[in-house]
Amino acid sequence: MVQEQPLLDIRNLHVTFKLGRRELRAVDGVSLQLFRGESLGLVGESGCGKTTLGNAIVRMAPVSGGSISFGGRDIAAFRGDELRGYRRQVQMVFQDPYGSLNPRMTVGAAILEVLGIYRLGGDRAARFNRLGELMTAVGLEPGYSRRYPHEFSGGQRQRIGIARALAVSPSLVIADEPVSALDVSVQVQILNLLKDLQAKFSLSYLFVAHDLSVVRYMCQRVLVMYLGRVMESGPVDAVYSHPGHPYTEALLSAVPDVELGLDARKTGGRRRILLTGDVPSATRVIPGCRFHPRCPRAKDVCRKIEPTTVAVGDGHWSACHFASEVLARPAAQAHGA
């Protein structure tokens, strides 16, 4: 395999928020590599740190340790023109199609504003052309650029958000839950649009989502996060069909799924791994493995020593003392190809 330099290289990242006397360790030692042209999924439940990680990559979160490199260069060092250049390379599409557009600007003005800030596209006429191209690329009539956000549906606003992100021709797009606020029938349209745009414009995606099925559809590799750390990572097929971490197992068994649900009716319901309790607050420091209080497989060592990350397959890693046991004796039926 050719050892290509990753587009995005994150090493042992820490993002900590101070809440009075307490600390919230939103990202607590995360490393990942994203390669050109790939779609990397970041999944986890609330409080796992996936959104904060995305924010840190676009320099919207306070990094307290570790490093983020883009194209081989440490982004923390960027200033002035270099920083502006970076911001062009990495763009974000947000979850809330209603909150992420300025209600007092026409959508055309919002997109043109971006072109203006980065002085892209040449003169007015050229920029206007570019606007038309972008609207068309996301499946909207160029004439709609004169309308205000409230005149569009959620799905259309999401398209506008995507057009705005693409205006600067980025190489990496961080999509933070881009479809969870949309109706089912519209979700697919946006997902397929994102896929088409990726091929057309050679984009790389960091796809942050809580919906494992959506990540399966969009991504080749996935990272599973819990309370600020990566529990498991690897090719999406491998992780979903042969999970190497009890948390991943529980997550997979919890996802409602039409096929699995229908199949399970004959056997009296899906055999779910039910985790006890709730996701603890990220202000609590949990000794040993941070998942142990809820883990159905927890043993003594889990309560005392934090697991290191071990390989469980080709490019497939797990942070569990008993990863090979999880693989060898899965608790629930596998979900996969």
Binding site: D183, P256, V258, R272, D278, G336
Partner: protein, 328 residues
């Protein structure tokens, strides 16, 4: 799970016939629900499925006339609860049903709970209003235990904000169960919850249904949930039902193009081939097209569809579909 055939001769907890709920007092009301009929048999889970604006929540609220009126107008139909029509009831008769025979839980338990009262007090209020002759505190603890709240003796004095989303939803369920309802209406009860918590709540609802023998009306857009938990499913679009039947049949062999489209648009854990969405967007209830409401988006549309709206027709068994050209 009782067979579908057995359920059709079972007694019905609720029967909805031609329900119409419109909004607005002008000449062009918004027909959010326009002729919906279905029944909820005893001890069964019925799912009402659809996307935003289809009228499913309005239908659920209409059962006990919960919507403020005006602007809501109950323009037709009957809702029979134990044989009596809620559309004809006086306010005091309705009070006797709401939170008693028919109880509700909603999507955002954090917003539904009163932030300045302890949860024990709020559950206690439900117990008191149920009129049951029990010792309130004992009953509150019993209910908290029933819904799986950890350390009830301690939590009884917690404020809602001190509880997680999952625990708040359990509190709501405890309140709903205080009166031993015959029907629990759950409107997107797990949408706002993390998926592992969602699984816990669904298990709880399933267990409670078996244990207490109540019916559940599950309002949701999530077909995965329907597949697992519902005996029968009704698919709603543009204010009316477009398909009804046993869950397995409808989801494996949908007859209506919209149901087919929805199923094709749901990402699966085990499938990665390209999904087809449904073109266009869900209709605005204020501007519904003439003829079949799904016609503008339907891949099988013909001229007839744009003329008069099709009626709901029975096909085999208890399958019903509202389409001139249903799939096989």
């Amino acid at each position: 799970m009782p067979s579908f055939a057995a359920m059709t001769v079972a007694k019905n907890t609720v029967e909805v016939e031609g329900l119409k709920t419109w909004f607005g007092t002008g000449p062009e009301p918004v027909k959010a629900v326009d002729g919906v009929s279905f029944s909820i048999p005893e001890k069964s889970t019925v799912a009402l499925v659809g996307e935003s604006g289809c009228g499913k929540s309005v239908t659920a609220m209409s059962l006990t006339r919960l919507l403020p009126s005006p602007p809501a107008r109950y323009a037709g139909g009957r809702v029979l609860v134990g044989g009596r029509d809620t559309m004809q009831m006086t306010p005091s008769q309705l009070s006797g049903i709401r939170g008693r025979e028919i109880a509700y839980i909603f999507q955002e338990p954090g917003t539904a709970l009163n932030p300045v009262f302890r949860v024990g007090y709020q559950i206690g209020e439900a117990v008191r209003l149920s009129g049951r002759k029990v010792r309130v505190r004992d009953e509150v603890l019993r209910l908290m235990h029933l819904v799986g709240l950890p350390e009830p003796e301690r939590r009884i004095d917690s404020y809602p904000h001190e509880l997680s989303g999952g625990m708040q939803q359990r509190v709501m369920i405890a309140m709903a169960l205080a009166s031993q309802p015959r029907l629990l209406v759950a409107d997107e009860p797990t949408t706002a919850l993390d998926v592992t918590i969602q699984a816990q709540i669904l298990e709880l609802l399933g267990a409670l249904q078996k244990e207490l023998g109540m019916s559940v009306l599950l309002i949701t857009h999530n077909l995965g949930l329907v597949a697992e938990t519902a005996h029968t499913v009704h698919v709603m679009y543009g204010g009316r039902l477009v398909e009804s039947g046993g869950t397995e049949e409808v989801l494996r062999k949908p007859a209506h193009p919209y149901t087919r489209g929805l199923l094709d648009a749901v990402p699966r854990l085990s499938v990665t081939k390209t999904m087809r969405g449904i073109d266009g967007t869900v209709p605005n209830p204020a501007h519904l097209p003439v003829g079949c409401k799904f016609a503008p988006r339907c891949p099988r549309v013909k001229d007839k569809c744009r003329g008069t709206e099709p009626e709901m027709t029975m096909s085999t068994g208890d399958r019903q579909v509202r389409c001139y050209f249903p799939l096989s």
